[in-house]
């Protein structure tokens, strides 16, 4: 059934995905395996987008199907994993002068459904607001999102500011977005770079559980 779910997700067959998820839940399958299969399907969707087979519309539809599948698995606001303890706190936002938030919103939804406490600062967030939020919320992880090329400059400024305020060692920083890659993330002083929401989720899990 896992393979069927992966295939249905990768084909963006909404009805099939929801039908299989309902069946799997009905059979008592654990949520971790169901989510894992959904994530595998999402990875294939991402690969197909990279190849040019899928459009942005398909990516967005995949996000919608994913969220619907999560809500079938569990009622709203309940953690979907067997771990009921709060998984840790993530502060996330799209940096200043950038208003692209699709990736961020998918990440927020995925993290919350895994039991993370997520503080979402929204879009076009200035450096000083990120810093104030780090002080106020004391997150384990700071996730910076940006699509525009100049978003990277802003991300570097935020990381420098964390250093200047003596906050850098209090939080793990993840950066992501079209204009970022591993080398750029390292150059600007980020701890991690994430290519997509699935990777971000896995990274946050790893960081909290270590």
């Amino acid at each position: 059934m896992n393979e069927e779910l992966i295939l249905a997700m990768s084909r963006l067959d909404e009805d099939k995905v929801l039908e299989i998820v309902r069946t799997m839940r009905g059979q008592g399958m654990n949520t971790t395996s169901i989510i894992h299969a959904l994530n595998c399907g999402m990875l294939t969707v991402g690969e197909m987008f990279e190849k040019g087979t899928y459009y942005l519309a398909d990516l967005i539809v995949s996000g919608s199907i994913y969220r619907q599948a999560l809500s079938v698995i569990s009622p709203e606001n309940e953690s979907l994993t067997e771990q009921t303890e709060n998984m840790g706190k993530v502060l996330i936002g799209v940096v200043k002068n950038d208003i692209h938030d699709i990736g961020k919103d998918i990440i927020v939804g995925s993290l919350r459904s895994e039991g993370f406490c997520v503080v979402d600062l929204g879009i076009n967030v200035p450096c000083e607001d990120f810093i104030s939020a780090v002080v106020e919320y004391k997150p384990n992880i700071l996730a910076l999102s940006g699509t525009m090329t100049f978003a990277v400059d802003e991300m570097e400024m935020i990381i420098k500011s964390l250093n200047e305020k003596g906050l850098r060692n209090t939080v793990s920083v993840i950066v992501g977005g079209i204009s970022v890659n591993k080398a750029i993330a390292e150059r600007i002083g980020s701890d991690y770079y994430s290519e997509d929401p699935i990777e971000t989720l896995a990274l946050c899990r790893k960081l909290i559980l270590r």
């Binding site: 692209h100 990277v152 079209i178 970022v180 080398a183």
Partner: protein, 220 residues
């Protein structure tokens, strides 16, 4: 001093106009439009074209930094001149700072007729979504993509008849639930690219036989 041009198809109209204004025309290699969502692919295509340039002192890039796709590019026996802008929109508006300023009172989705000829443009995305998923889902998709935008901004670069394209832009704006707006723009930056001077604050000049690295686009 032999010069050549590496250009994005999106800017074809504006480059032709700038060539007319400046009186220069260079050997040009074109890269297809619509790769701004795929910086690695874009870098590969740029590099493939750069590797074919021989006998030139300078190669001028009619591109922005485009998702940092320019980072990692290798030059041959030529200098590479890269405009210090994020993408072609800022080049046509005048600078990154001006682009940000123009968008202060409501997010603007900028376009030109050249942009609309590209394969993976916004209207192509919408049309694809309508055909594959129906209008309701297409509207949901567009809301996700454009929810933070207020305007569909047609850049008037003075190289095409704005009145001729306005009806189709108006139709698009209506379908995408955006307000149509005409934004003054120009080919001044492109003209500067074509004839110089290539001053430090507007252009990154990469030496021959080197790699574009340790470079990040800075907002002033």
């Amino acid at each position: 001093m032999p010069l050549a041009l590496l250009a994005c198809e999106t800017l074809r109209d504006e480059l032709e106009y700038a060539s007319k204004l400046t009186g220069v025309k260079y050997d040009t290699q074109w890269v297809e439009s619509g790769l701004h969502n795929y910086p690695d692919k874009l870098r590969n295509q740029m590099q493939e074209r750069l590797d074919s340039f021989f006998g030139y002192d300078k190669v001028l890039m009619a591109f922005g930094c485009c998702g940092n796709s320019v980072i990692g590019l290798k030059t041959g026996d030529f200098e590479l001149v890269i405009p210090r802008v994020d993408d072609c929109i800022s080049m046509l508006i005048g600078s990154v700072e001006k682009r940000i300023q123009v968008g202060q009172n409501g997010g603007i989705y900028f376009l030109t007729p050249g942009w609309l000829r590209g394969e993976r443009n916004l209207w192509a995305e919408y049309s694809y979504a309508v055909e594959k998923y129906g209008e309701d889902t297409a509207d949901m998709v567009m809301e996700s993509l454009l929810g933070n935008y207020t305007y569909l901004g047609l850049l008037d670069t003075e190289c095409y008849d704005v009145q001729e394209v306005l009806p189709s832009i108006g139709h698009m704006a209506q379908k995408l639930k955006l307000t149509q707006k005409i934004i003054p723009a120009s080919v001044d930056y492109i003209c500067n690219l074509l004839v110089g001077p290539w001053e430090e604050d507007r252009f990154l000049v990469v030496p021959p036989n080197s790699i574009v690295e340790n470079f990040l686009l800075r907002i002033k």
